[in-house]
Protein backbone atom coordinates (compact mmCIF):
# COMPACT_ATOMS: atom_id res chain seq x y z
CA UNK A 1 0.00 0.00 0.00
CA UNK A 2 1.30 3.40 -0.84
CA UNK A 3 2.01 5.96 1.82
CA UNK A 4 -1.16 7.57 3.15
CA UNK A 5 -1.77 11.24 2.39
CA UNK A 6 -2.93 11.97 5.89
CA UNK A 7 -2.61 9.88 8.98
CA UNK A 8 -3.62 10.23 12.60
CA UNK A 9 -1.92 8.17 15.23
CA UNK A 10 -3.44 7.56 18.60
CA UNK A 11 -5.08 10.96 18.69
CA UNK A 12 -6.23 11.95 22.17
CA UNK A 13 -8.17 15.14 22.81
CA UNK A 14 -9.83 16.06 26.08
CA UNK A 15 -11.59 19.34 26.79
CA UNK A 16 -11.01 20.36 30.38
CA UNK A 17 -14.05 21.74 32.15
CA UNK A 18 -13.66 24.61 34.58
CA UNK A 19 -13.55 23.56 38.19
CA UNK A 20 -15.97 25.16 40.58
CA UNK A 21 -14.66 26.71 43.78
CA UNK A 22 -16.17 23.84 45.73
CA UNK A 23 -14.27 21.32 43.64
CA UNK A 24 -11.06 23.18 44.34
CA UNK A 25 -11.71 23.03 48.09
CA UNK A 26 -12.41 19.35 47.84
CA UNK A 27 -9.25 19.00 45.76
CA UNK A 28 -11.20 17.29 42.98
CA UNK A 29 -9.38 17.19 39.72
CA UNK A 30 -10.92 19.03 36.80
CA UNK A 31 -13.40 17.04 34.76
CA UNK A 32 -12.65 16.59 31.11
CA UNK A 33 -14.82 15.82 28.11
CA UNK A 34 -12.99 12.91 26.60
CA UNK A 35 -13.73 13.71 23.00
CA UNK A 36 -11.08 11.57 21.32
CA UNK A 37 -9.50 8.58 23.02
CA UNK A 38 -6.82 7.31 20.71
CA UNK A 39 -7.96 7.57 17.13
CA UNK A 40 -5.72 6.17 14.41
CA UNK A 41 -6.78 6.55 10.82
CA UNK A 42 -5.08 6.70 7.44
CA UNK A 43 -6.39 8.43 4.35
CA UNK A 44 -5.18 7.09 1.03
CA UNK A 45 -4.87 9.34 -1.97
CA UNK A 46 -8.11 9.89 -3.83
CA UNK A 47 -10.30 7.92 -1.46
CA UNK A 48 -13.27 8.98 0.62
CA UNK A 49 -13.19 7.87 4.21
CA UNK A 50 -16.56 8.14 5.87
CA UNK A 51 -16.82 8.78 9.60
CA UNK A 52 -20.12 7.84 11.22
CA UNK A 53 -21.35 7.97 14.77
CA UNK A 54 -23.92 9.60 16.98
CA UNK A 55 -23.78 13.17 18.19
CA UNK A 56 -21.21 13.55 20.94
CA UNK A 57 -19.15 10.61 19.69
CA UNK A 58 -16.29 12.89 18.74
CA UNK A 59 -16.58 12.82 14.95
CA UNK A 60 -16.77 16.59 14.57
CA UNK A 61 -13.93 17.03 17.05
CA UNK A 62 -11.88 14.63 14.97
CA UNK A 63 -12.58 16.63 11.81
CA UNK A 64 -11.61 19.89 13.49
CA UNK A 65 -8.50 18.41 15.08
CA UNK A 66 -7.28 17.17 11.70
CA UNK A 67 -7.98 20.58 10.18
CA UNK A 68 -5.81 22.10 12.91
CA UNK A 69 -8.56 23.88 14.81
CA UNK A 70 -7.95 21.90 18.01
CA UNK A 71 -4.64 20.82 19.40
CA UNK A 72 -4.64 17.20 20.55
CA UNK A 73 -3.14 16.39 23.96
CA UNK A 74 -1.24 13.47 22.54
CA UNK A 75 -0.90 11.52 19.36
CA UNK A 76 0.14 12.82 16.02
CA UNK A 77 -1.26 13.90 12.69
CA UNK A 78 1.08 13.42 9.79
CA UNK A 79 0.74 14.72 6.27
CA UNK A 80 2.66 12.87 3.57
CA UNK A 81 4.56 11.12 6.33
CA UNK A 82 5.66 14.31 8.06
CA UNK A 83 4.38 15.13 11.53
CA UNK A 84 2.38 18.34 11.69
CA UNK A 85 2.73 18.81 15.44
CA UNK A 86 5.69 21.17 15.18
CA UNK A 87 4.28 23.14 12.25
CA UNK A 88 4.57 26.88 12.64
CA UNK A 89 4.31 29.93 10.44
CA UNK A 90 4.73 29.17 6.78
CA UNK A 91 4.65 25.40 7.25
CA UNK A 92 1.38 25.66 9.18
CA UNK A 93 -0.17 27.90 6.54
CA UNK A 94 0.93 25.52 3.83
CA UNK A 95 -0.63 22.60 5.70
CA UNK A 96 -3.81 24.62 6.11
CA UNK A 97 -3.89 25.33 2.43
CA UNK A 98 -3.52 21.70 1.44
CA UNK A 99 -6.01 20.37 3.99
CA UNK A 100 -9.30 22.22 3.68
CA UNK A 101 -12.51 21.88 5.60
CA UNK A 102 -16.18 22.57 4.84
CA UNK A 103 -18.43 23.19 7.78
CA UNK A 104 -21.90 21.95 8.56
CA UNK A 105 -23.72 25.24 8.77
CA UNK A 106 -23.31 27.39 5.67
CA UNK A 107 -25.17 30.17 7.46
CA UNK A 108 -22.35 30.57 9.93
CA UNK A 109 -19.26 29.57 7.97
CA UNK A 110 -19.41 32.51 5.55
CA UNK A 111 -18.59 36.02 6.73
CA UNK A 112 -21.91 37.87 6.29
CA UNK A 113 -20.17 41.12 5.35
CA UNK A 114 -17.97 39.85 2.53
CA UNK A 115 -19.17 39.57 -1.03
CA UNK A 116 -18.57 36.15 -2.54
CA UNK A 117 -16.02 37.57 -4.95
CA UNK A 118 -14.07 39.24 -2.13
CA UNK A 119 -14.14 36.02 -0.15
CA UNK A 120 -12.56 34.11 -3.02
CA UNK A 121 -10.17 36.94 -3.85
CA UNK A 122 -8.91 36.94 -0.28
CA UNK A 123 -8.19 33.21 -0.34
CA UNK A 124 -6.46 33.47 -3.73
CA UNK A 125 -4.25 36.40 -2.76
CA UNK A 126 -3.31 35.32 0.76
CA UNK A 127 -1.86 32.13 -0.67
CA UNK A 128 -0.64 33.69 -3.93
CA UNK A 129 -2.57 31.13 -5.89
CA UNK A 130 -2.36 33.09 -9.11
CA UNK A 131 -0.94 36.36 -10.45
CA UNK A 132 -3.02 39.40 -9.40
CA UNK A 133 -4.24 40.06 -12.94
CA UNK A 134 -5.61 36.52 -13.21
CA UNK A 135 -7.63 36.60 -9.98
CA UNK A 136 -10.85 37.79 -11.62
CA UNK A 137 -10.77 35.03 -14.22
CA UNK A 138 -9.99 32.46 -11.55
CA UNK A 139 -13.01 33.58 -9.50
CA UNK A 140 -15.25 33.03 -12.54
CA UNK A 141 -13.68 29.62 -13.00
CA UNK A 142 -14.33 28.66 -9.40
CA UNK A 143 -17.96 29.75 -9.61
CA UNK A 144 -18.35 27.69 -12.77
CA UNK A 145 -16.78 24.75 -10.98
CA UNK A 146 -19.44 24.75 -8.26
CA UNK A 147 -22.23 25.52 -10.77
CA UNK A 148 -23.01 29.02 -9.56
CA UNK A 149 -23.74 31.92 -11.91
CA UNK A 150 -20.82 34.32 -12.32
CA UNK A 151 -22.74 37.31 -11.02
CA UNK A 152 -22.75 35.51 -7.65
CA UNK A 153 -19.40 37.20 -7.05
CA UNK A 154 -21.14 40.52 -6.53
CA UNK A 155 -23.54 39.23 -3.89
CA UNK A 156 -23.49 38.87 -0.15
CA UNK A 157 -24.01 35.46 1.51
CA UNK A 158 -27.54 36.23 2.74
CA UNK A 159 -28.73 36.50 -0.84
CA UNK A 160 -28.23 32.76 -1.33
CA UNK A 161 -30.12 29.66 -0.25
CA UNK A 162 -28.49 27.07 2.02
CA UNK A 163 -27.46 24.84 -0.85
CA UNK A 164 -25.92 27.73 -2.76
CA UNK A 165 -24.05 28.86 0.33
CA UNK A 166 -22.60 25.40 0.72
CA UNK A 167 -21.42 25.66 -2.91
CA UNK A 168 -19.76 28.95 -2.04
CA UNK A 169 -18.02 27.28 0.89
CA UNK A 170 -16.85 24.53 -1.44
CA UNK A 171 -15.57 27.10 -3.96
CA UNK A 172 -13.64 28.86 -1.20
CA UNK A 173 -12.07 25.61 -0.04
CA UNK A 174 -11.14 24.64 -3.60
CA UNK A 175 -9.71 28.06 -4.43
CA UNK A 176 -6.49 27.17 -2.64
CA UNK A 177 -6.19 23.87 -4.52
CA UNK A 178 -6.15 21.51 -1.54
CA UNK A 179 -5.34 17.82 -1.59
CA UNK A 180 -7.55 16.84 1.29
CA UNK A 181 -11.11 18.00 1.88
CA UNK A 182 -12.72 17.48 5.26
CA UNK A 183 -16.49 17.66 4.98
CA UNK A 184 -18.19 17.92 8.35
CA UNK A 185 -21.91 17.16 7.91
CA UNK A 186 -21.77 18.70 4.45
CA UNK A 187 -25.49 18.52 3.71
CA UNK A 188 -27.23 17.92 7.01
CA UNK A 189 -28.29 21.57 7.31
CA UNK A 190 -29.85 21.50 3.84
CA UNK A 191 -33.33 20.62 2.65
CA UNK A 192 -33.73 17.02 1.58
CA UNK A 193 -34.46 17.94 -2.02
CA UNK A 194 -31.27 20.00 -2.20
CA UNK A 195 -28.91 17.50 -0.57
CA UNK A 196 -28.52 15.37 -3.68
CA UNK A 197 -27.31 18.37 -5.72
CA UNK A 198 -24.49 19.07 -3.29
CA UNK A 199 -23.54 15.42 -2.90
CA UNK A 200 -23.36 15.04 -6.68
CA UNK A 201 -21.17 18.14 -6.85
CA UNK A 202 -18.78 16.73 -4.26
CA UNK A 203 -18.52 13.40 -6.06
CA UNK A 204 -17.82 14.95 -9.45
CA UNK A 205 -15.31 17.44 -8.05
CA UNK A 206 -13.49 14.68 -6.24
CA UNK A 207 -13.08 12.70 -9.44
CA UNK A 208 -12.18 15.77 -11.44
CA UNK A 209 -9.56 17.07 -9.02
CA UNK A 210 -8.35 13.85 -7.42
CA UNK A 211 -9.30 15.01 -3.95
CA UNK A 212 -8.94 12.91 -0.85
CA UNK A 213 -12.05 13.33 1.28
CA UNK A 214 -12.86 12.78 4.92
CA UNK A 215 -16.65 12.66 4.99
CA UNK A 216 -18.07 13.10 8.46
CA UNK A 217 -21.83 12.58 8.74
CA UNK A 218 -24.55 11.04 10.82
CA UNK A 219 -26.65 10.09 7.79
CA UNK A 220 -25.69 6.50 7.14
CA UNK A 221 -27.26 6.23 3.69
CA UNK A 222 -25.25 9.21 2.60
CA UNK A 223 -22.00 7.91 4.03
CA UNK A 224 -22.54 4.57 2.35
CA UNK A 225 -23.17 6.32 -0.94
CA UNK A 226 -20.06 8.51 -1.02
CA UNK A 227 -17.45 6.54 0.93
CA UNK A 228 -14.89 3.99 -0.19
CA UNK A 229 -14.13 3.10 3.39
CA UNK A 230 -16.03 3.81 6.58
CA UNK A 231 -15.00 4.18 10.22
CA UNK A 232 -17.61 3.85 12.97
CA UNK A 233 -16.85 5.95 16.03
CA UNK A 234 -18.26 5.46 19.51
CA UNK A 235 -17.31 7.77 22.39
CA UNK A 236 -14.09 8.94 20.84
CA UNK A 237 -12.78 5.60 19.64
CA UNK A 238 -12.97 3.81 16.32
CA UNK A 239 -14.89 0.60 16.93
CA UNK A 240 -14.91 -0.64 13.37
CA UNK A 241 -13.35 0.38 10.10
CA UNK A 242 -13.49 -1.20 6.70
CA UNK A 243 -14.54 -1.17 3.13
CA UNK A 244 -17.91 0.62 2.84
CA UNK A 245 -19.72 -2.12 0.96
CA UNK A 246 -18.55 -4.84 3.32
CA UNK A 247 -19.19 -2.86 6.45
CA UNK A 248 -22.70 -1.84 5.50
CA UNK A 249 -23.61 -5.30 4.24
CA UNK A 250 -22.12 -7.09 7.19
CA UNK A 251 -21.27 -4.92 10.19
CA UNK A 252 -19.31 -6.88 12.80
CA UNK A 253 -19.20 -4.69 15.89
CA UNK A 254 -22.44 -4.86 17.88
CA UNK A 255 -22.58 -1.07 17.91
CA UNK A 256 -22.20 -0.85 14.14
CA UNK A 257 -24.97 -3.41 13.80
CA UNK A 258 -27.28 -1.40 16.06
CA UNK A 259 -26.44 1.88 14.37
CA UNK A 260 -27.06 0.53 10.88
CA UNK A 261 -30.30 -1.17 11.85
CA UNK A 262 -31.57 2.03 13.47
CA UNK A 263 -31.47 3.98 10.22
CA UNK A 264 -35.09 4.01 9.09
CA UNK A 265 -35.54 2.39 5.70
CA UNK A 266 -37.75 3.88 3.03
CA UNK A 267 -39.39 0.54 2.64
CA UNK A 268 -42.16 0.18 5.22
CA UNK A 269 -41.80 -3.58 5.13
CA UNK A 270 -38.09 -3.53 5.77
CA UNK A 271 -37.88 -3.24 9.50
CA UNK A 272 -34.17 -3.86 9.87
CA UNK A 273 -33.14 -6.35 12.50
CA UNK A 274 -34.55 -6.26 15.94
CA UNK A 275 -31.66 -4.56 17.71
CA UNK A 276 -33.08 -1.65 19.66
CA UNK A 277 -30.32 -0.39 21.88
CA UNK A 278 -31.37 0.13 25.44
CA UNK A 279 -30.02 3.12 27.29
CA UNK A 280 -28.30 6.12 25.82
CA UNK A 281 -24.85 7.32 24.99
CA UNK A 282 -22.90 7.61 28.28
CA UNK A 283 -21.54 11.04 29.08
CA UNK A 284 -18.16 11.72 27.51
CA UNK A 285 -17.22 13.19 30.90
CA UNK A 286 -17.30 9.74 32.34
CA UNK A 287 -16.53 7.03 29.83
CA UNK A 288 -17.17 3.49 31.07
CA UNK A 289 -14.14 1.34 31.76
CA UNK A 290 -13.23 -1.49 29.44
CA UNK A 291 -15.21 -1.37 26.22
CA UNK A 292 -17.10 1.94 26.28
CA UNK A 293 -20.08 0.23 24.69
CA UNK A 294 -20.50 -2.55 27.24
CA UNK A 295 -23.39 -0.85 29.07
CA UNK A 296 -25.59 -0.87 25.97
CA UNK A 297 -24.21 -3.95 24.29
CA UNK A 298 -26.61 -6.88 23.93
CA UNK A 299 -23.78 -9.45 24.06
CA UNK A 300 -21.43 -7.90 26.65
CA UNK A 301 -19.52 -10.23 28.97
CA UNK A 302 -17.21 -9.78 31.96
CA UNK A 303 -14.13 -9.18 29.87
CA UNK A 304 -15.85 -6.21 28.17
CA UNK A 305 -16.17 -4.40 31.48
CA UNK A 306 -12.51 -4.95 32.32
CA UNK A 307 -10.39 -4.54 29.22
CA UNK A 308 -10.66 -2.06 26.42
CA UNK A 309 -10.63 -3.91 23.11
CA UNK A 310 -8.26 -2.73 20.41
CA UNK A 311 -8.79 -2.66 16.67
CA UNK A 312 -7.80 -6.03 15.24
CA UNK A 313 -7.79 -7.50 11.81
CA UNK A 314 -6.36 -6.83 8.40
CA UNK A 315 -6.24 -3.08 7.78
CA UNK A 316 -7.13 -3.79 4.15
CA UNK A 317 -10.27 -5.80 4.62
CA UNK A 318 -11.49 -4.34 7.86
CA UNK A 319 -10.77 -4.03 11.54
CA UNK A 320 -13.03 -4.27 14.55
CA UNK A 321 -12.49 -3.48 18.23
CA UNK A 322 -14.50 -6.09 20.10
CA UNK A 323 -13.48 -8.94 22.38
CA UNK A 324 -16.30 -11.13 21.18
CA UNK A 325 -16.09 -10.73 17.43
CA UNK A 326 -13.56 -12.43 15.23
CA UNK A 327 -12.27 -9.78 12.84
CA UNK A 328 -11.60 -12.36 10.15
CA UNK A 329 -14.98 -14.01 10.45
CA UNK A 330 -16.79 -14.22 7.14
Amino acid sequence: MSEPVLQTENLVLHFKKDRSLLDMFLAKSAKAVQALNGVSLALQKGETLGIVGESGCGKSTLARAIAGLYKPQSGDISFHGRSTASNKGAALREFNRRVQMIFQDPYSSLNPRLRVGDMLREALTVHNMCPPEAVGARIDELLDLVRLPRDAAEKLPHEFSGGQRQRIAIARALSVEPEVLIADELVSALDVSVQAQVVNLLLSLQDELGLTVLFVAHDLRLVRHVSHRVAVIYLGSVVEIGDAKGLFANPKHPYSQALLSAAPSLNPDEKGNEIVLTGELPSPLNIPSGCAFHGRCPIAQDICRERKPILEGNPKSGQVACHLVEPTAN
Partner: protein, 280 residues
Protein backbone atom coordinates in the same frame (compact mmCIF):
# COMPACT_ATOMS: atom_id res chain seq x y z
CA UNK B 1 -28.19 42.30 -8.55
CA UNK B 2 -31.69 43.62 -8.11
CA UNK B 3 -32.03 42.10 -4.67
CA UNK B 4 -28.77 43.65 -3.54
CA UNK B 5 -30.00 47.02 -4.73
CA UNK B 6 -33.36 46.75 -3.02
CA UNK B 7 -31.61 45.67 0.15
CA UNK B 8 -29.50 48.76 0.24
CA UNK B 9 -32.52 50.85 -0.52
CA UNK B 10 -34.38 49.33 2.41
CA UNK B 11 -31.42 49.90 4.68
CA UNK B 12 -31.07 53.50 3.63
CA UNK B 13 -34.70 53.92 4.49
CA UNK B 14 -33.55 54.22 8.10
CA UNK B 15 -32.05 57.55 7.18
CA UNK B 16 -35.44 58.98 6.31
CA UNK B 17 -36.97 58.33 9.70
CA UNK B 18 -37.86 61.57 11.52
CA UNK B 19 -35.97 60.63 14.70
CA UNK B 20 -32.77 60.09 12.83
CA UNK B 21 -33.23 63.23 10.72
CA UNK B 22 -33.82 65.38 13.80
CA UNK B 23 -30.78 63.85 15.51
CA UNK B 24 -28.66 64.39 12.45
CA UNK B 25 -29.79 68.02 12.16
CA UNK B 26 -28.91 68.67 15.80
CA UNK B 27 -25.56 66.96 15.46
CA UNK B 28 -24.57 68.74 12.25
CA UNK B 29 -25.53 72.15 13.58
CA UNK B 30 -23.63 71.41 16.80
CA UNK B 31 -20.55 70.56 14.79
CA UNK B 32 -20.96 73.70 12.67
CA UNK B 33 -21.24 75.79 15.83
CA UNK B 34 -18.21 74.06 17.28
CA UNK B 35 -16.11 74.67 14.17
CA UNK B 36 -17.10 78.26 13.46
CA UNK B 37 -18.24 79.85 16.75
CA UNK B 38 -17.09 83.28 15.74
CA UNK B 39 -19.33 83.15 12.70
CA UNK B 40 -22.46 82.45 14.75
CA UNK B 41 -21.76 84.28 17.99
CA UNK B 42 -22.89 87.95 17.91
CA UNK B 43 -20.48 89.03 20.70
CA UNK B 44 -17.04 88.27 22.05
CA UNK B 45 -17.71 85.63 24.69
CA UNK B 46 -15.24 87.13 27.13
CA UNK B 47 -15.91 90.82 26.57
CA UNK B 48 -17.23 92.58 29.69
CA UNK B 49 -20.06 95.02 29.31
CA UNK B 50 -20.75 96.91 32.50
CA UNK B 51 -23.69 98.70 30.97
CA UNK B 52 -25.61 95.43 30.56
CA UNK B 53 -25.24 93.35 33.73
CA UNK B 54 -27.49 90.35 34.38
CA UNK B 55 -29.95 91.36 31.69
CA UNK B 56 -32.76 88.91 30.96
CA UNK B 57 -33.11 87.51 27.45
CA UNK B 58 -33.95 90.24 24.96
CA UNK B 59 -33.82 90.93 21.24
CA UNK B 60 -30.19 92.00 21.55
CA UNK B 61 -29.01 89.42 24.07
CA UNK B 62 -31.05 86.31 23.18
CA UNK B 63 -29.91 84.37 26.25
CA UNK B 64 -29.39 87.47 28.44
CA UNK B 65 -26.10 88.51 30.02
CA UNK B 66 -24.18 87.50 33.13
CA UNK B 67 -22.95 89.43 36.16
CA UNK B 68 -20.03 90.80 34.12
CA UNK B 69 -22.21 91.72 31.18
CA UNK B 70 -20.91 88.91 28.95
CA UNK B 71 -23.44 87.73 26.33
CA UNK B 72 -24.68 84.27 27.41
CA UNK B 73 -25.73 83.30 23.87
CA UNK B 74 -22.20 83.90 22.60
CA UNK B 75 -20.71 82.06 25.55
CA UNK B 76 -22.99 79.03 25.00
CA UNK B 77 -22.00 79.02 21.33
CA UNK B 78 -18.31 79.30 22.05
CA UNK B 79 -18.69 76.49 24.55
CA UNK B 80 -19.71 74.21 21.64
CA UNK B 81 -16.05 74.08 20.58
CA UNK B 82 -14.98 72.75 23.96
CA UNK B 83 -17.91 70.46 24.60
CA UNK B 84 -18.04 68.86 21.15
CA UNK B 85 -14.28 68.41 21.37
CA UNK B 86 -14.92 66.68 24.70
CA UNK B 87 -17.40 64.30 23.14
CA UNK B 88 -14.81 63.26 20.63
CA UNK B 89 -11.44 63.49 22.38
CA UNK B 90 -12.60 61.99 25.66
CA UNK B 91 -13.97 58.91 23.89
CA UNK B 92 -11.88 58.24 20.79
CA UNK B 93 -8.82 56.89 22.59
CA UNK B 94 -10.97 54.84 24.92
CA UNK B 95 -12.68 53.46 21.82
CA UNK B 96 -9.45 52.56 20.06
CA UNK B 97 -7.80 51.02 23.09
CA UNK B 98 -10.97 49.25 24.16
CA UNK B 99 -11.68 47.77 20.73
CA UNK B 100 -8.12 46.54 20.35
CA UNK B 101 -7.82 45.04 23.82
CA UNK B 102 -11.33 43.62 23.73
CA UNK B 103 -10.74 41.98 20.34
CA UNK B 104 -7.48 40.42 21.45
CA UNK B 105 -8.63 39.04 24.79
CA UNK B 106 -11.92 37.93 23.25
CA UNK B 107 -10.12 36.06 20.48
CA UNK B 108 -7.23 34.54 22.42
CA UNK B 109 -8.92 33.99 25.80
CA UNK B 110 -6.71 32.18 28.31
CA UNK B 111 -4.58 33.97 30.86
CA UNK B 112 -4.77 37.39 29.20
CA UNK B 113 -8.54 37.15 29.37
CA UNK B 114 -8.47 36.12 33.03
CA UNK B 115 -6.26 39.07 33.94
CA UNK B 116 -8.47 41.37 31.91
CA UNK B 117 -11.52 40.03 33.71
CA UNK B 118 -10.03 40.90 37.11
CA UNK B 119 -9.11 44.41 35.93
CA UNK B 120 -12.64 44.97 34.71
CA UNK B 121 -14.08 43.76 37.99
CA UNK B 122 -11.78 46.09 39.89
CA UNK B 123 -12.66 49.11 37.79
CA UNK B 124 -16.39 48.70 37.42
CA UNK B 125 -16.96 48.26 41.16
CA UNK B 126 -16.22 52.00 41.53
CA UNK B 127 -18.72 54.52 40.22
CA UNK B 128 -17.35 55.93 36.98
CA UNK B 129 -17.46 59.56 38.12
CA UNK B 130 -15.74 58.86 41.43
CA UNK B 131 -12.91 57.08 39.68
CA UNK B 132 -12.45 59.85 37.13
CA UNK B 133 -12.45 62.47 39.89
CA UNK B 134 -9.83 60.44 41.76
CA UNK B 135 -7.58 60.34 38.68
CA UNK B 136 -8.06 64.07 38.01
CA UNK B 137 -7.28 64.76 41.64
CA UNK B 138 -3.96 62.98 41.22
CA UNK B 139 -3.08 64.55 37.85
CA UNK B 140 -4.43 67.99 38.66
CA UNK B 141 -7.46 69.79 37.14
CA UNK B 142 -7.64 70.88 33.51
CA UNK B 143 -8.99 69.67 30.20
CA UNK B 144 -6.04 67.50 29.16
CA UNK B 145 -5.87 65.70 32.47
CA UNK B 146 -9.60 65.22 32.34
CA UNK B 147 -9.28 63.53 28.93
CA UNK B 148 -6.56 61.28 30.26
CA UNK B 149 -8.67 60.37 33.28
CA UNK B 150 -11.78 59.57 31.22
CA UNK B 151 -9.74 57.50 28.78
CA UNK B 152 -8.00 55.57 31.56
CA UNK B 153 -11.34 54.54 33.03
CA UNK B 154 -13.53 54.54 29.93
CA UNK B 155 -11.66 52.07 27.71
CA UNK B 156 -12.66 49.25 30.01
CA UNK B 157 -16.29 49.57 29.05
CA UNK B 158 -15.47 49.43 25.34
CA UNK B 159 -13.16 46.49 25.86
CA UNK B 160 -15.72 44.57 27.85
CA UNK B 161 -18.37 45.07 25.19
CA UNK B 162 -15.96 44.25 22.36
CA UNK B 163 -14.74 41.10 24.07
CA UNK B 164 -18.27 39.81 24.50
CA UNK B 165 -19.13 40.60 20.87
CA UNK B 166 -16.02 38.88 19.55
CA UNK B 167 -16.72 35.81 21.62
CA UNK B 168 -20.27 35.80 20.27
CA UNK B 169 -18.96 36.00 16.70
CA UNK B 170 -16.52 33.16 17.38
CA UNK B 171 -19.50 30.86 17.76
CA UNK B 172 -19.91 31.30 14.00
CA UNK B 173 -17.78 29.06 11.89
CA UNK B 174 -16.47 31.74 9.55
CA UNK B 175 -13.65 32.46 12.00
CA UNK B 176 -12.78 28.75 12.10
CA UNK B 177 -13.04 28.72 8.32
CA UNK B 178 -10.52 31.57 8.18
CA UNK B 179 -8.15 29.57 10.31
CA UNK B 180 -8.50 26.54 8.11
CA UNK B 181 -7.88 28.78 5.09
CA UNK B 182 -4.50 29.55 6.65
CA UNK B 183 -5.26 33.20 7.36
CA UNK B 184 -3.26 35.00 10.02
CA UNK B 185 -4.84 35.75 13.38
CA UNK B 186 -4.56 39.44 12.63
CA UNK B 187 -6.54 39.05 9.44
CA UNK B 188 -9.20 36.94 11.14
CA UNK B 189 -9.58 39.36 14.03
CA UNK B 190 -9.49 42.65 12.21
CA UNK B 191 -10.89 41.84 8.80
CA UNK B 192 -13.42 39.14 9.63
CA UNK B 193 -14.48 39.32 13.24
CA UNK B 194 -14.20 43.01 13.97
CA UNK B 195 -16.52 44.37 11.28
CA UNK B 196 -19.18 41.91 12.40
CA UNK B 197 -18.67 42.60 16.09
CA UNK B 198 -18.26 46.34 16.19
CA UNK B 199 -21.84 47.55 15.64
CA UNK B 200 -22.88 47.58 19.31
CA UNK B 201 -19.58 49.25 20.19
CA UNK B 202 -20.22 52.05 17.71
CA UNK B 203 -23.71 52.51 19.07
CA UNK B 204 -22.31 52.61 22.59
CA UNK B 205 -19.76 55.14 21.37
CA UNK B 206 -22.53 57.46 20.24
CA UNK B 207 -24.18 57.27 23.67
CA UNK B 208 -20.82 57.57 25.34
CA UNK B 209 -20.10 60.81 23.48
CA UNK B 210 -23.28 62.21 24.96
CA UNK B 211 -22.17 60.91 28.34
CA UNK B 212 -18.72 62.43 27.84
CA UNK B 213 -20.31 65.84 27.36
CA UNK B 214 -22.27 65.34 30.56
CA UNK B 215 -19.20 64.12 32.40
CA UNK B 216 -17.00 66.90 31.05
CA UNK B 217 -19.60 69.48 32.03
CA UNK B 218 -19.92 67.92 35.47
CA UNK B 219 -16.18 68.13 35.97
CA UNK B 220 -16.19 71.68 34.65
CA UNK B 221 -18.96 72.46 37.09
CA UNK B 222 -16.90 70.97 39.91
CA UNK B 223 -13.87 72.95 38.82
CA UNK B 224 -11.91 69.88 37.75
CA UNK B 225 -12.30 70.14 34.00
CA UNK B 226 -12.23 73.25 31.84
CA UNK B 227 -11.19 76.27 33.85
CA UNK B 228 -12.92 79.68 33.92
CA UNK B 229 -13.05 82.03 32.19
CA UNK B 230 -13.16 79.50 29.32
CA UNK B 231 -16.69 79.14 28.03
CA UNK B 232 -17.79 75.58 28.75
CA UNK B 233 -21.31 74.48 29.60
CA UNK B 234 -20.39 73.07 33.03
CA UNK B 235 -18.40 76.16 33.86
CA UNK B 236 -21.27 78.35 32.67
CA UNK B 237 -23.77 76.50 34.85
CA UNK B 238 -21.41 76.82 37.83
CA UNK B 239 -21.03 80.54 37.21
CA UNK B 240 -24.79 80.97 37.05
CA UNK B 241 -25.34 78.98 40.22
CA UNK B 242 -24.92 81.99 42.51
CA UNK B 243 -27.58 83.91 40.62
CA UNK B 244 -30.04 81.07 40.08
CA UNK B 245 -32.88 82.99 41.77
CA UNK B 246 -32.21 86.33 40.09
CA UNK B 247 -30.79 85.31 36.69
CA UNK B 248 -32.20 81.87 35.84
CA UNK B 249 -31.05 82.09 32.21
CA UNK B 250 -27.41 81.84 33.13
CA UNK B 251 -27.68 78.15 34.14
CA UNK B 252 -30.71 77.17 32.10
CA UNK B 253 -29.41 78.05 28.63
CA UNK B 254 -26.20 75.97 28.78
CA UNK B 255 -28.27 73.22 30.40
CA UNK B 256 -30.58 73.15 27.38
CA UNK B 257 -27.55 72.99 25.08
CA UNK B 258 -26.32 69.91 26.96
CA UNK B 259 -29.67 68.14 26.73
CA UNK B 260 -30.13 68.99 23.07
CA UNK B 261 -26.69 67.81 22.05
CA UNK B 262 -27.05 64.62 24.06
CA UNK B 263 -30.35 63.93 22.34
CA UNK B 264 -28.75 64.47 18.95
CA UNK B 265 -26.04 61.89 19.62
CA UNK B 266 -28.53 59.33 20.90
CA UNK B 267 -30.90 59.69 17.94
CA UNK B 268 -28.07 59.35 15.47
CA UNK B 269 -26.74 56.37 17.45
CA UNK B 270 -30.06 54.57 17.11
CA UNK B 271 -30.15 55.21 13.38
CA UNK B 272 -26.62 53.91 12.93
CA UNK B 273 -27.49 50.79 14.92
CA UNK B 274 -30.28 49.99 12.47
CA UNK B 275 -28.15 50.82 9.49
CA UNK B 276 -25.24 48.62 10.49
CA UNK B 277 -27.22 45.56 11.44
CA UNK B 278 -26.11 42.84 9.01
CA UNK B 279 -28.70 40.89 7.06
CA UNK B 280 -29.31 37.18 6.71
Amino acid sequence: MTSSFSLRKSQLFVLLRPGFLVGLAILLSSIALALFPSFFAPFDPNAFNYSALKQPPSAEHWFGTDNLGRDTFSRVIWAYSVNIQMAFVATIFALIIGVTVGSLVGYYGGIADAIFGRCVDAIITFPFLVLVIAVVAVLGPGLTNMYIAITLVGWVYYARLMRAEIMGQLANDYAAAGKVMGYSDRRIIFRHLLPNAITPVIVYWMTDMALAILLGSSLGYLGLGAQPPQAEWGVLIAEGRNFITTAWWLSLMPGIAIVLTGLGFSLVGDGIADLMRPRG
